[in-house]
Symmetry: C2
Subunit: 365 residues, 2 copies
């Protein structure tokens, strides 16, 4: 049994649970080393104090899971079969119906919850998402190395995007170039839809890239990341193309100083809400408070956005081994949006910045 | 109020519901014309017989939603705020607490369901996913046109991939080329992770592309699709590179004949399970039954995989306006995997094949 599953069993016991049904693809990967995107099909790891773990998955993926290193039992079902019925048959045969079962309440849908309740009417079902989140939030040395490598590839992606800038190129063409070069380096997937925005579109934090053409005086915002052996990176840089006006320059420097203050506040033991506050106070003081309309950042690892959420009201203290983003932004409609984002890894020596791409204002010629 | 929302209200009334809280991004888009990937944040459309609809979304996306055409009320929240509290305040102010609320049980997570129950303790909450699925399954003329355009782009993707094949190229390099050319044509996103597999890897229906190099005698499997204005395409083609052996050839022709038989079975009124059966009987009869280990296909539209599931036990009759895939496959470990997939649109005149890329066996020189 893997060290991670053993640790989970210990934590379950501490929480008076004898078992857990893990259904989110990220947590299934964390526990089984089997990475899959099952779409609407069920994939789950059932962990129990009573016997070895079991992997539930579509029959057509059984070989892939074995190749990924899964050596325990499997319930592999065909599309016309009901995986929950097969799971119940397995539990009934083993004679070990769980008494206190944990589930991931932020992932399990209402219909699946009802299925589980339906097959296990005598089992008490509890919300146990946080148990796994708290295990995953502390990254080990191997995870640190993967995140660092993912961050390096994100740096490369930004550099590739900047190199591609020229008058008349479109946002989607720049994205195509970035992803082409990353895939040639062996990257299998981006960690989210690559964002490249020009000009006024930068003022939309979740804007959609299109066929807009690059013009002199545009700000250009890159927000991208890759998945490297399951681990996600996330970086944002904003540059000016050929020219910049005074207000855009002021916005840029306000964001950058706010970001540096937030990094400075990233100390072991400090509440994550204070990281948000450090940047927000600076941006407020410079008159742009209303234009910084999102939290300072989020945890990342197997998912691009994971526990914890770094919003102003979160009192969670920073611990050694936590990885998160710091990404303040100012978005002034019709003027410009600027966001600067780094990945931070907390070590005993303080905050290490995993993304290394320069942050000084660049005016691309 | 949009025609779609009016239709939903009528269906809700038929189902004794006075309101529905719609939380899946696809259904939010369907009702609001606002397409977003909110990650872990809440985005919802609240539809009620008592007043105009309301869109709940992050404050930073409010402008985007207005630009997409949303003209009704919005509850836009900041990251440190609880959208459910704001929603309750809205309902309390309006004096219209719902009595019978529908939710999407295949999308709503257990934690969100508990939040909704928490703020609305006197409301009866019912599973209403199918109401929207049944609206969405019948596509109108405009949706047909978008699906057709998405299918054309998928055809182009396969052609681009085949053009890129040469000895020594890697699976990821072929994917990079396909996506580069599609993005240059204005495609903002693929509808799922593009799959290109070489040689023995084709025998894994959900295999992961990597840096494997193309060699003479490899089968090459392409499975890809794009999102065009929100609508998804999905095509699979398998070709041989420079040479093919007799067993691979037999597998190819068995899949192709099975696929053609399934298309022939796609008649208005026929149960979708019979489409699966048509291909499966043929593949069984040729001795490959155990190697066709998934259903024949799935509905598609705003999602790549949506209602209905075309598995052998599904008795749902085919209706005019339904769009789905037909994609039998035979996967023989160490020999080859072959899958051939088309998008089918049901019209009054029968099945129209939206993906047009040729299906005769191609040996690429």
């Amino acid at each position: 049994m893997s060290a991670k599953i053993k640790l989970l069993l210990t934590e379950l016991e501490t929480n008076q649970l004898d078992s857990m049904l893990v259904t989110s693809p990220a947590n299934v990967y964390y526990l089984s080393n089997y990475l899959t995107d099952p779409h609407e099909r069920v994939v789950a790891v059932y962990v129990s104090a009573a016997h070895d773990p079991v992997l539930i998955l579509p029959a057509m993926e059984a070989e892939d899971a074995k190749n990924a290193g899964w050596t325990h039992a499997m319930i592999d079902y065909h599309d016309h079969e009901d995986p929950w019925e097969l799971f119940l048959a397995f539990l009934t045969n083993s004679g070990k119906i769980p008494k206190n079962l944990g589930v991931e309440e932020d992932n399990l849908t209402l219909s699946r919850f009802n299925k589980v309740k339906g097959i296990l009417p005598t089992t008490e079902i509890s919300q146990a998402q946080e148990i796994l989140s708290k295990l995953r939030v502390i990254k080990n040395e191997q995870e640190y190395e993967l995140l660092k490598k993912a961050a390096e590839l994100a740096d490369f992606g930004v550099q590739t995007g900047i190199n591609a800038l020229k008058e008349g190129i479109s946002e989607l063409e720049v994205i195509a170039t970035i992803e082409y070069e990353l895939k040639k380096k062996g990257v299998q997937a981006m960690s989210f839809s690559t964002m490249v925005l020009f000009g006024h579109k930068t003022a939309s934090p979740h804007g959609t890239p299109g066929t807009a053409k690059l013009q002199k005086g545009d700000m250009v915002l890159f927000d991208l990341g890759v998945i490297f052996e399951g681990y996600c990176s996330d970086i944002t840089r904003t540059v000016a193309f050929q020219a910049i006006n005074d207000e855009q320059k002021k916005i840029y420097h306000t964001v950058l100083e706010g970001q540096l203050k937030a990094i400075e506040a990233s100390k072991l033991g400090n509440a994550v809400g204070n990281i948000d506050k450090a940047a927000r106070d600076h941006i407020d003081a410079n008159g742009y408070g209303e234009y910084f309309n999102h939290r300072i950042g989020h945890g990342l690892g197997l998912e691009t956005h994971e526990y914890p959420s770094l919003h102003g009201n979160n009192t969670l203290p920073l611990q050694n081994g936590v990885c998160f983003t710091i990404e303040p932004g100012i978005y002034v409609p019709k003027v410009a949006g600027v966001r600067i984002e780094d990945m931070i890894f907390m070590t005993e020596n303080g905050a290490e910045i995993l993304t290394k791409f320069p942050k000084e204002l660049q005016i691309i010629k």
